[in-house]
Structures are given as structure tokens and as C-alpha cells.
């Protein structure tokens, strides 16, 4: 502990020396983004309009947070931060404040009627050639059953099959299903698998939230049964994957709970994430 304090003391001394050239700026926005390749990021930049000639043009000084959980923690710790994350995760996490966009809050209703603009499908996909194993097929059937979609609705996501989904009955199967992909879909998949395993205690479901691209590669290489994606699949991916939409999810724009801002326009969100507005005063 003494050494840690010494290190910190050294940092303070160094920091004081640097204060002149560094800059302790009061209201400068800290922009947090997800990494290149993240499904949430590519959906976000496309919908908000941060794409120029098909190229992702997000603010270069934006802090890159690998994974949804790192994003949440960073925004929760930074009073001047702004970031974005799956609404299912963001609304369930009391550490951050979800902002209405153009006055519209990302509720299930607003996403279904389309007034909340920043939304994308949650997709699961399997290898078109290999198909699904009997066990994986059973799990997918559960996801699209009344019970499965009830789990989706109960967790701040919008079910894709709102009514009329068939009842699921357990077949007493056993074995392991490997699921990999989007860290945004990860949470929902966890809830689904927990509900599924209550009915099928002998089935193990291994879920990895390594990112959309990672999951797609894993299915391609035969390392996973099911890929999770938080964006529409690309044409090159559709050549070997069969996708299914399991839910609609919004992307919430999130800030620290102490941040005074009460809402943003979609244009303001774009300006912030393009780096054209750098101060909170510029959007308030």
C-alpha cells in the first residue's frame, strides 16, 4: 500500500508539472465508442449518420472501449462521458442515464412503432451447410416459443414474434450447445439459456460474448453452433450463414447520472460522435 501511495504521489507531482501543457478542461465531452468490428458500433454509426462514403467516420479521439461491460463501466465512472450501448443492457443498469433522442425514450413501444430511430435487430445465425444439431435446433425452437419470447419481453428487449408464438415442450435432451458472438446479445442469450435450462437441466449452453465478427468466424470455423449478431449480416456472411431475428434492440445513448443533459437530438448525437461538438455547452 505504501508503494502504491508513493506511485500515486509521484503521479501527482508529475501531473502538477504537466498541468500547464495538459489542460484540465471543465466541460469537454469524453466520447466513448466501441471497437471497429463491433455490431453495435456499425449499427450505431450507420443509423446516426457517421458514415462517409461507406466508411466509419467516428471521432478519432473517442476512447475505444472493448466490450459492452467496459463501455458501461467507463460511462458510469466519467461524469463528462457519453457512449452508447444496447438498450436492454443500458436500461437494466442503474449506473448510467439513458437519454431520449429527439424527445423519444427507447421503450419497447417506441421501437415497435419506429419513433425511436436508433434500433437494430438481434440476430442468431447458424452455418447454412452444417445446419443445426438436434440440440441446437431445440434451443432455437425454445427461443421462438411463447416462453422464449416472454423472456425477451421481460428484459427490456422487443420480441420479434410478439403474439402467437407456439408453446415449447422439453424433450429431455442432453449435451452442449456453443453460442458465440455479440456482447450486446450476450446478456439476453444468458437469460434465454437460464430459462431453457430450467426445462432441460441436462443441457449445457456455453455462451461467449466475444463480439459479432468473432461469433460469425466461430460458426464458419465450426467452433460454435450458433452465432449472435447485433447488426444485419453482410452479403459475404449470408453466403455461409442462415440468420434469424430473435428480438429488436435499441441502441441507447448513455451518460453519467450526474450529467445535467436531459435529452439530445439525433443531429446533436451525430455532431458529438463526429467530434464536431467538443463541449457539453455546445449541446445543452
Amino acid at each position: 500500500m505504501r508503494r502504491i501511495l508513493t506511485v500515486l504521489a509521484a503521479a501527482v507531482v508529475l501531473g502538477a508539472a504537466l498541468a500547464g501543457c495538459g489542460g484540465s478542461d471543465g466541460g469537454a465531452i469524453t466520447v466513448f465508442t466501441r471497437e471497429d468490428g463491433s455490431g453495435t458500433r456499425s449499427a450505431f454509426v450507420e443509423i446516426v449518420g457517421i458514415v462517409e462514403n461507406g466508411n466509419d467516420n467516428i471521432y478519432r479521439e473517442a476512447v475505444v472501449t472493448p466490450g459492452t461491460s467496459v463501455m458501461m463501466t467507463n460511462v458510469a465512472e466519467n461524469p463528462l462521458g457519453i457512449g452508447y450501448a444496447s438498450t436492454g443492457v443500458a436500461l437494466g443498469d442503474g449506473r448510467v442515464k439513458v437519454l431520449p433522442i429527439d424527445g423519444v425514450f427507447p421503450t419497447a413501444e417506441n421501437m415497435l412503432n419506429g419513433t425511436y430511430a436508433i434500433q437494430r435487430p438481434f440476430i442468431i445465425a447458424y452455418g447454412s451447410q452444417a445446419g443445426l444439431t438436434v440440440l441446437a435446433r431445440d434451443f432455437v425452437d425454445f427461443i421462438f416459443s411463447a416462453q422464449g419470447q416472454a423472456v425477451v419481453a421481460g428484459r427490456n428487449y422487443v420480441p420479434f414474434v410478439p403474439t402467437g408464438a407456439p408453446e415449447y415442450t422439453a424433450g429431455g435432451l442432453s449435451g452442449t450447445v456453443v453460442v458465440n458472438g455479440s456482447s450486446s446479445v450476450y446478456d439476453l442469450m444468458g437469460y434465454l439459456s437460464a430459462a431453457y435450462r430450467e426445462l432441460n437441466p441436462n443441457v449445457r449452453i456455453d455462451i461467449h460474448g466475444a463480439g459479432t465478427g468473432h461469433g460469425i468466424n466461430a460458426v464458419r470455423d465450426g467452433l460454435a453452433d450458433i452465432a449472435m449478431s447485433s447488426r444485419d449480416l453482410r452479403d459475404s456472411e449470408l453466403t455461409f450463414l442462415t440468420p434469424m431475428v430473435i428480438a429488436i434492440d435499441g441502441i441507447a445513448v448513455i451518460v453519467h447520472p450526474d450529467n445535467g443533459v436531459t435529452g439530445l437530438t439525433l443531429d446533436a448525437v451525430r455532431d458529438v460522435f463526429l467530434g464536431e461538438v467538443k463541449e457539453w455547452d455546445g449541446v445543452r
Binding site: R3, I4, T6, V7, L8, A10, A11, V12, L14, G15, A16, L18, A19, C21, G22, G23, S24, D25, A28, T30, E35, D36, G37, S38, G54, N55, D56, R60, E61, A62, V63, V64, T65, P66, V70, T73, N74, E77, N78, L80, G81, A210, G211, T212, G213, H214, N217
Partner: protein, 297 residues
């Protein structure tokens, strides 16, 4: 020689032979592993470097892997790794060496009983825990008391400085303890105080071990990934040395953040990043052995 003795003799021979093979295989496992990694990196990474152009790969300042056409310039990451490593040395080495001197020569036994396990524990903490600590303690601290948004070169340097402490302390301490007692006693006999004897005779006598500790610490700092990517900001933007309150991306972070998503050329470019990292580490090791030779240590 009777038949029975002959059979017994053959058995021994066989056993010896088998044992020999086992030992040779064990001994070459490490060499083989290095060789395989070398081959893998070069086969996968060099063609990519060639396609991108070695010069534009190494000196390019733009990293835009998802653009069409993509840009693969890793100079920001090379400098990023350099900055956080130098920073880690700045914070970690003085503290580590002084701590080692204290533990070897000044520490009362009751305190040593606490310090030693504490240092060992520090070494055993997984780097992701360091990363989380950095994210919720160091980042807000730097943002609040020093400046910038907290996700910066400085924060990563402080965190890495902490992470290399156990390596530096442990190896320096054993190096200091390995110095013959006569050297210390001789100095004291000549009238040096305890402090003077330790700092001007014992510590210089242990310098090869201390250097080894620093080099290993640097190796750990260059290679550290999980913790750094959680606090460093990860912007692939070229930084100048005075911009230590801005974020940076290290070579390791670049690989680990994007490898899961990468395909084709992007993936190869990341493996080529690994080649550069490998050359870095080799350079450190070569510098170390040259230093050793020159000093006759």
C-alpha cells in the same frame, strides 16, 4: 558375460536411452515453441507486410481497417507501446529497486513477514483485475486531479508501473541477497555507514541482477494487454511524447481488440502487428545480452 547379465545390461541401456529421449524432448520443448511461433508469425505476417508495403505499414499514421480501401499504419501503436513502457519504467523501476533494497537490507523481520507475501500476492493478481482497478480508481483519479479524460498514456503507465513491481522487487531482492556478505562487511569496516555500504557497495555489486529485473519488467510492460486496453483509451492516433494525458493504443491492445472481428487482410495485418511486437521483444533481449557482455557481468 552370462545371458542373464546381458539381458539386464540391455534393459539398463534401454532405460537410459528412453530417459535420454525424454530429457532431450523436454529440453527442446521451449526452443521448439519459440521456433513454431517464429515460423507462424513470419509465414502469416510477412506476406501481409509485403502487400501493405513494409514502409507504409511501419510508418503509416492511419489505422482504418474497416475502410474501403483499408489503411494499415501501425506507427501510432508502435509509439503507444513505447510511451507506456517508458512510463511504466519511470514509475515502477525506482520504487521497485528501493523496495528491494529495503526488503533485503533494512526491513525488520516482522515487517518482512508481511511485505514478502504482499509482493507475491501482487504478482498473482490477474491482469484483468488490475485493469478493473485502473478503470474505477486510477482513471477517475487522473481525470480529477491531473487532467484529460483519464483514459491516457499516464494512467496506463502508472498501472503498468504497479504491475511490474513484483517482477522488479523479487528479482532485485534475490540479486541483492546474493551479494557476498564480505563486500558489505568490508565497506562497513572501512567506516561506511549501513546506508552508504548498501547503496554504494552492495547495490552496485548486484547490478547485473537488477538490470535483469528491469529488463524482465520492461518485457512484461510491453507484453501486457488486458489491463492496458481497459485504461489506455485505445485511440489509434499518433501521439507526441508531451501528450501523455491523451489516450493511446499499444501493439498488444491493437491485436486483442480487433483480432476477433478481423478477416482476410485485416487479420493478416494484425498478425503482422504481432511480428513487430515479436521484434520488439527480441530487440529488448538482444540489448540485454549486449549490455551484459559489455559490462562483463
Amino acid at each position: 558375460m552370462g545371458r542373464r547379465t546381458l539381458v539386464a545390461w540391455k534393459k539398463v541401456c534401454n532405460r537410459e536411452f528412453v530417459a535420454k529421449v525424454i530429457f532431450i524432448v523436454s529440453a527442446s520443448a521451449a526452443v521448439l515453441a519459440v521456433g513454431l511461433i517464429c515460423v507462424f508469425l513470419l509465414v502469416q505476417g510477412l506476406p501481409a507486410m509485403w502487400d501493405i508495403g513494409i514502409v507504409s505499414f511501419l510508418t503509416g499514421t492511419d489505422w482504418r481497417p474497416t475502410w474501403t480501401p483499408p489503411l494499415f499504419g501501425i506507427l501510432p501503436m508502435i509509439l503507444g507501446s513505447l510511451y507506456v513502457t517508458v512510463g511504466a519504467v519511470f514509475f515502477g523501476v525506482p520504487v521497485g529497486i528501493f523496495a528491494a533494497v529495503f526488503m533485503a537490507r533494512f526491513c525488520p523481520p516482522y515487517l518482512y513477514k508481511v511485505l514478502k507475501p504482499a509482493v507475491n500476492l501482487l504478482a498473482g493478481i490477474p491482469s484483468v483485475v488490475y485493469g478493473y482497478f485502473g478503470m474505477v480508481v486510477l482513471v477517475p483519479f487522473v481525470r480529477g486531479h491531473i487532467g484529460g479524460n483519464g483514459n491516457s498514456i499516464l494512467t496506463a503507465s502508472i498501472l503498468l508501473g504497479m504491475m511490474i513491481l513484483p517482477t522488479i522487487i523479487t528479482i532485485s531482492e534475490s540479486a541483492i541477497r546474493a551479494v557476498p556478505e564480505e563486500i558489505y562487511e568490508g565497506a562497513v569496516a572501512l567506516g561506511a555507514s549501513h546506508e552508504r555500504a548498501v547503496f554504494f557497495t552492495v547495490l552496485p555489486a548486484a547490478k547485473s541482477g537488477v538490470f535483469a529485473a528491469v529488463i524482465l519488467g520492461i518485457g512484461r510492460a510491453v507484453g501486457e494487454t488486458m489491463a492496458v486496453r481497459m485504461v489506455a483509451g485505445n485511440q489509434a492516433v499518433l501521439r507526441m511524447p508531451h501528450e501523455i494525458l491523451s489516450g493511446t493504443r499499444t501493439l498488444t491492445a491493437n491485436v486483442v481488440i480487433e483480432l476477433g472481428y478481423a478477416a482476410d487482410e485485416h487479420r493478416q495485418a494484425l498478425i503482422a502487428t504481432g511480428v513487430v511486437l515479436f521484434v520488439f521483444i527480441m530487440g529488448i533481449n538482444i540489448a540485454f545480452s549486449m549490455l551484459k557482455k559489455k559490462d562483463g557481468l
